[in-house]
Amino acid sequence: MKKRAAIVVTLIVANIAGLVGWTRLAPAQEPAFTIHKVDEASFTAREPGDPFFILMIGNDGRPGLEGIRGDGIHLVGVNPAQRSATILNIPRDTWVDIPGRGAEKITRSMEFGGLQLQVQTVAGLTGVNFSFAITVGFDGFRALVDEMGGLHVNVPYRMFDRASGADFQPGRVHMMGEGALSFARNRNIPNGDISRTHHQSLIMLGALERAREVSKSPFDTMRLLAMTTRHTQFEGVGVRDLYTLIALGLSIDPANVRTVTMPSAIGKVGKADVVFAAGGSDSLFADFRDDAILQGH
């Protein structure tokens, strides 16, 4: 009798927890993620423990804004065998050679030649071969974070910025979609874009932490997969790939994820403020691309 009562209580608690933690919404109108196949064979044909790389791009495309730029550029290297990952952040104003266009800010490669040129440009800078590219849309991202129940971010210092809406005290802060977006967009901070790109990687870490919190069992993972699928547009890849990425991501403790920003120097080209890849960048890229783990940096 006691056992039966315990089961009933457990079911009730589980249902309440399910209702609180998982609010099923209608399919997202705008995707949070668009997953593009770049070189899927490098992902599917590899041994299960082999490292692979994803290019994540914050897409600043919004209604009323002409042209689409890669607003946040992050190289995610995953080493499944070590259950580790590295997020390598590239400032959007990094001055690079864009194939066919000459020297320009790296963010403009998306505008000039779409995702393909963006991938080509980042690969040219870093020497990394990507399996997938994932573009992140603002509205979809906000909705997805809301549906996940928010996430926690370690805010490094006081932030207040009317333009982005960022208004945070330093420390561990729980953010819903709007807050996370404002934190990721705020440039009114020391070192501007260089710091911002690091902050965007903190959002990614917060999302991983939240995903692990809500995925304690295979059925939880199925729920996360279903939710993410509703917020994802697939370009040449399928739900099976998304599941594999999610499963691999969930296997990695955020404590085993390093986030590092390309060594940078702020300068000017003409009147434009730009960022130059500083000394040590090449060795960092080499360290990153061999196994997705930074040993010497």
Partner: protein, 203 residues
């Protein structure tokens, strides 16, 4: 009222007792029919075939799975039951090649983690050659379909209660938990699992 001889009365009492005994025996036999058999003395002639009953199917807000997807997933779960559970129980030998029912990732996991293997596979026990029966073998499914409507990933909540009997074994095995199946080259295989398996000896 006629008088009966002592011999007649004795015979009547004996007949009555005999009838009561037969009746009790029949009654006992009926009871046994009403409850699943728990012990037999005869040897099974072959490895028994058990199968899952598919319960609720939840597409989780994506396109519902086609019947053939459910049938294919059930076939894989049935094959898992035969190859990883009933087979080793019946023979008392380790499970053979499980690559038809487990993905490379799952195979890697059970090779590296004996505790995980023990939740998935019934090995290391004396052969259960007299009886292997399931009183519960239910699987509830959760599916996820892509924008094209094709289901590529399926979760299954498993609830399995077995009784296995052999010359040196009489055990109840309760297995509950969840697995995820993925489709690779047209066939479904278990890719990840989180099961709780309890084995209680009746002896």
């Amino acid at each position: 009222m006629s008088r009966r001889s002592p011999a007649f009365v004795a015979a009547l009492v004996a007949m009555t007792l005999a009838l009561v005994t037969v009746s009790a025996a029949c009654s006992s036999s009926d009871d046994e029919d009403a409850v699943p058999t728990t012990t037999t003395t005869t040897e099974l002639t072959a490895q028994p075939t058990l199968a899952w009953t598919i319960g609720e199917v939840d597409p989780q807000g994506t396109a519902p799975p086609a019947e053939d997807v459910i049938a294919a997933v059930k076939a894989t779960l049935d094959a898992y039951l035969a190859q990883a559970i009933v087979g080793p129980l019946y023979t008392g030998q380790p499970a053979g090649d499980l690559s038809a029912v487990l993905s490379p990732a799952a195979l890697e996991r059970i090779a590296a983690d004996p505790a995980a293997r023990a939740t998935l596979v019934d090995e290391g026990m004396p052969p259960a050659t007299k009886e292997i029966t399931a009183t519960v073998a239910n699987a509830g499914l959760r599916t996820v379909a892509g924008p094209d409507g094709a289901v590529a990933v399926v979760g299954a909540h498993l609830d399995l209660v077995l009784h296995a009997v052999g010359p040196a074994i009489d055990v109840d095995i309760v297995r509950k938990g969840e697995v995820i199946l993925t489709q690779e080259n047209g066939s479904w295989r278990i890719d990840s699992f989180q099961l709780r398996t309890q084995r209680d000896s009746r002896a």
